[in-house]
């Protein structure tokens, strides 16, 4: 029985060629690799988790290994918003404004159980998790979280960045 070789048609998706898709994927990998090792965090520090933030950003734990060592104290220069501590309703407009001031691409880490879910504060004052106000990429629970947990959170965020698409170039490539 003779095999009939039919050529596989190069499908075009959305008017783009497969070669375009391939190059775009490779480009996303490249940009993701570059971005995941250059996270400039903006510490939005409100409460006692700040102590643990200082511990994790100091030399014994060395977050410089992940490119996340240099805190930028201007949100316009930062990629990663680390919300460290309890956020109250009175403070929520400030947090929202800081998030809005950050340039794309931007990621948010909820550091500690208060930023994650409000923690043990459930009353008139505390926001029950910052994801009610701004989108959150990685949650690090704990009261306070161990430095290992924070580093694990940074690594998970790095994986997420490496896996996601990075549309920095126009559709014409």
């Amino acid at each position: 029985m003779a095999r009939t070789s039919t050529p596989i048609p190069i499908q075009s998706v959305g008017g783009k060629s497969a070669a375009f898709e391939y190059l775009t994927t490779k480009k996303d990998e490249l940009v993701g690799w570059a971005r995941k090792f250059s996270l400039f965090p903006y510490p939005f520090v409100t409460a006692c988790c700040a102590m643990e933030f200082m511990a994790v950003s100091s030399s014994p734990y060395d977050t410089d290994r992940f490119g996340a060592a240099l805190p930028r104290f201007s949100p316009r220069q930062a990629d990663l918003l680390m919300v460290v501590g309890t956020v109250t309703h009175k403070q929520a407009p400030v947090l929202y404004k800081v998030y809005e001031q950050m340039c794309e691409p931007k990621w948010v880490m909820a550091f500690g159980v208060c930023a994650t879910s409000g923690g043990f504060y459930q009353n008139y004052a505390a926001v029950q998790g910052i994801d009610r106000i701004i989108p959150v990429d990685v949650y690090v629970p704990g009261c306070p979280p161990r430095p290992e947990m924070v580093i694990d959170g940074i690594m998970q965020l790095q994986d997420k960045i490496a896996r996601s698409r990075h549309p920095i170039i126009s559709k014409d490539f």
Binding site: H89, K90, A92, Q122, N123, Y124, V127, R132, I133, P135
Partner: protein, 156 residues
């Protein structure tokens, strides 16, 4: 018990005052009309020169509903004193102590935030811990425990 408290107890006589000793601290219950003159007496004659705190208690089913609680400290006798005065729900107002202690202004603002106690004579009762637009007084017993008043609209 500090030596100053004996003469003080003689000055704070019934029927206006009810004086008890709780864990070594003198607790004076007095009507709200007597508050200002009593604090003047404490400050001028007994050297209670440090205003520590003012707060309130909400005894919701009871009447009078509120009790305003003051603490003072004497830096020369090294002793504290507590004053308690009942305040009705209909008109929860007492005299302000700003004229005697400057520090009272800020603490009365907090008490006004949390319990809605009015302080006659304090011209600046803006919110200090709460924010403009907050409805109600969160430490009152009838404030719903889970009621939030967010300033930023929630997502989704």
């Amino acid at each position: 018990m500090a030596a100053v408290l004996g003469p003080l107890q003689l000055r704070l006589a019934p029927p206006d005052y009810a004086v008890t000793l709780t864990r070594g601290m003198l607790v004076v219950q007095l009507p709200p009309e007597k508050l200002l003159e009593t604090v003047k007496l404490l400050k001028s004659e007994f050297h209670f020169d440090l205003f520590l705190d003012v707060t309130a208690i909400d005894w919701l089913p009871k009447a009078p509903r509120f009790e305003v609680v003051y603490h003072f400290y004497s830096t020369s006798h090294f002793v504290r004193i507590r004053l308690k005065t009942p305040v009705p729900d209909a008109d929860p107002t007492v005299d302000s102590l700003v004229s005697l202690y400057g520090a009272a202004g800020i603490m009365e603002r907090e008490c006004h935030d949390m319990y809605g106690i009015g302080f006659r004579g304090n011209a600046d009762l803006r919110p200090i811990l709460l924010y403009e637009g907050f409805v109600g007084h969160p430490l009152r017993k009838d404030y719903p425990k889970l009621q939030e008043q967010p300033l930023v609209p929630y997502r989704k």
